[in-house]
């Protein structure tokens, strides 16, 4: 299975990945409507690293762990690992208790803006392709399998 990897040296911190994450997870799939009408929380966490004379960034997403702490902490069974290995959250079942946020060591799960659920990367499985990667202007996030990631480490 492929996962999204962040390349620290290439990230500009522009936030386009978040824009497209929201679009891919919107009902309308329209960039303007997604932002202006639909209250969507991006599943990407842009990390800022302050250095002595500069700031660098990376765009962190769910690691789809082999034994996900979030799935084991989830009290409702909303968080699950699907047959492909993607860790997903069933918004119908989620009660937003934030047990997943409490245990994710990556900080990759966010409470959604509407307060009713949580937001995390699902690799845009329902949309069909990971839009964040497609629109990243600097190839700072890539979808890689284990061997590809090893080679680029």
């Amino acid at each position: 299975m492929k996962k999204i990897y962040a390349f620290e040296s290439k990230c500009l911190g522009c936030g386009l990945c978040e824009v497209y994450c929201k679009t891919a997870h919107s009902k309308s799939k329209d960039i303007i409507k997604a932002h202006k009408q639909e209250n969507i929380t991006s599943a990407i966490v842009i990390e800022e690293i302050l250095q002595p004379k500069a700031v660098s960034y990376f765009a962190l997403q769910c690691r789809h762990c082999s034994s996900p702490k979030c799935v084991k902490a989830c009290i409702s069974g909303a968080m699950y690992k699907d047959e492909k290995g993607i860790v997903r959250n069933d918004k119908e079942k989620c009660v937003s208790c934030l047990s997943c946020v409490l245990v994710c060591p990556f900080g990759a799960i966010k409470k959604s803006i509407n307060g009713k659920t949580v937001s995390k990367c699902d690799l845009c499985i329902d949309y069909g392709k990971s839009l964040c990667i497609e629109y990243c202007p600097n190839e700072a996030i890539k979808l890689l399998n284990e061997n590809e990631a090893e080679a680029l480490k």
Binding site: K3, E48, S66, A73, V95, C97, S99, L102, V103, F106
Partner: protein, 423 residues
């Protein structure tokens, strides 16, 4: 090989799931003394409030058992374990044999000694630990009910929240000087209490119920401070006790809970135990204690499952942690909260927003976050990994937490590990 699991909640289900993933052929049987397929036990207060509908109570998809070829026997009480013959007795003469047994019997409500209280006879007294408890309670309450809850812990307060708006009054009684004694210190508990009080829930603290009035139904409650409360519904939620009798009477080593090693194995080679019925080694105090927490039960169930199916794995570190909300106030706490002479680093605190970190000897040992949950799991990881705070990139009491707190090499290692978290 025959796997038998007593208990059908977080520990039992996670064990069964891992056993099946590692052993496609053997038979797996789960027995449960409840009448439902596994449900999210902490959801019972959400069911009570109406926020979660019955169809969303299921902990796993409807085909969980069938698709994994797991047999589940509901309404079935395990009565006795016969270690010598490797079998258990259910409902009288029926026996089930096993090669590997998991005891995941959970806990039961503790019923304190109260004069005239008779749980079997009085029809308006409830406990609040099972889906059935919640269904019974929901059927009984009316807009006119005056509800008294004994216990201001997580269970009592969630019951109060679940009933909010459906009854005439709710009064919570607790002997302690604060709410949620086990997970909060006094100042934070006081803030949370006043937030809950704004929703018309009354508290009677530092007193307890010493007597109840009424034969078939309790009508009045007498407190040790002399106060008398009218009562239509009494909920007893003063705590839980691990269900160890089955293990104890079979000769398995127990103390407060069932004693297990780091592989979740009991004093009997082929018998494992997991969840609220066992004692866990608390990472922070290094003492064996009951840590009745959903994530801990899942972890232990998974660990037991691996070991029962022949893959040796140690249980992950355990320590107290809770994420819970009350009337829109979101509370996250972990580790040691009070009772130590701490060099407390309160990063910031406003009326409805608090981030408090407890630091001892260069280690984060506990935290409380209210309405401020971003990346809380990184704090949990710092406790879990016993990370020396002086090795980090910045002072965690001065800046919001993020992965950039880790030095570059470590950060890269973490996010480039394909497996992420593994057991």
């Amino acid at each position: 090989m025959k796997y038998l699991i007593i208990g059908n909640s977080a520990a039992g289900i996670n064990a069964a799931n891992i056993i099946r993933a590692n052993d496609k052929k053997s038979s797996i049987t789960i027995i449960s003394n409840e009448e439902f397929n596994a449900y999210g036990r902490p959801l019972i207060s959400y069911y009570l409030s109406g926020k979660v509908k019955p169809e969303n109570m299921n902990y796993r998809s409807v085909d969980f058992y069938k698709s994994r070829n797991i047999e589940v026997l509901l309404n079935t009480e395990a009565e006795k374990i016969d270690i010598k013959n490797k079998e258990i007795s259910i409902s009288g003469d029926v026996k089930l044999s096993y090669d590997k047994l998991l005891i995941a019997t959970g806990s039961s409500p503790f019923i304190p000694q109260i004069k005239n209280l008779d749980m079997d006879k009085q029809k308006n007294v409830f406990t609040f630990l099972t889906y059935k408890d919640s269904i019974k309670l929901k059927t009984k309450v009316t807009k006119k009910s005056k509800v008294v809850i004994a216990g201001a812990g997580l269970i009592g307060l969630k019951a109060a929240e679940g009933l909010f708006g459906q009854v005439a009054s709710i009064t919570v009684v607790d002997l302690a000087d604060r709410v949620m004694t086990s997970i909060l210190d006094k100042p934070v508990a006081d803030d949370i209490q006043s937030h809950i009080e704004q929703n018309d829930i009354d508290f009677k603290l530092q007193t307890n119920i010493c007597e109840v009035d009424g034969e078939q139904n309790i009508s009045r409650i007498i407190l040790s401070n002399g106060e008398i409360l009218n009562c239509d519904i009494l909920i007893v939620a003063v705590g839980v006790r691990p269900n160890i009798n089955l293990a104890y009477s079979a000769g398995i080593k127990t103390a407060k809970g069932i004693i297990v090693n780091k592989y979740m194995q009991t004093s009997e080679k082929d018998i494992y135990a997991a969840g609220d019925c066992v004692e866990s080694l608390d990472l922070l105090s290094n003492k064996s204690k009951i840590l009745a927490l959903w994530p801990n039960a899942s972890n232990q169930g998974e660990t037991a499952g691996f070991n029962m199916a022949g893959t040796k794995k140690k249980a992950p570190a355990a320590f107290a942690m809770n994420a819970i909300s009350f009337f829109g106030l979101q509370l996250i706490s972990a580790g040691i909260i009070s009772g130590l002479n701490l060099n407390n680093g309160i990063t910031y605190s406003t009326k409805n927003n608090l981030r408090r970190l407890n630091i001892l000897n260069d280690n984060l040992i506990g935290f409380i976050l209210i309405n401020d949950n971003q990346r809380a799991g990184i704090y949990t990881a710092l406790i879990n990994d016993r990370t020396k705070l002086s090795t980090l990139e910045y002072d965690i009491t001065l800046k919001d937490i993020s992965l950039s707190v880790y030095p570059k090499e470590e950060r890269t290692k973490k996010i480039w590990d394909y497996k992420g978290c593994s057991l």
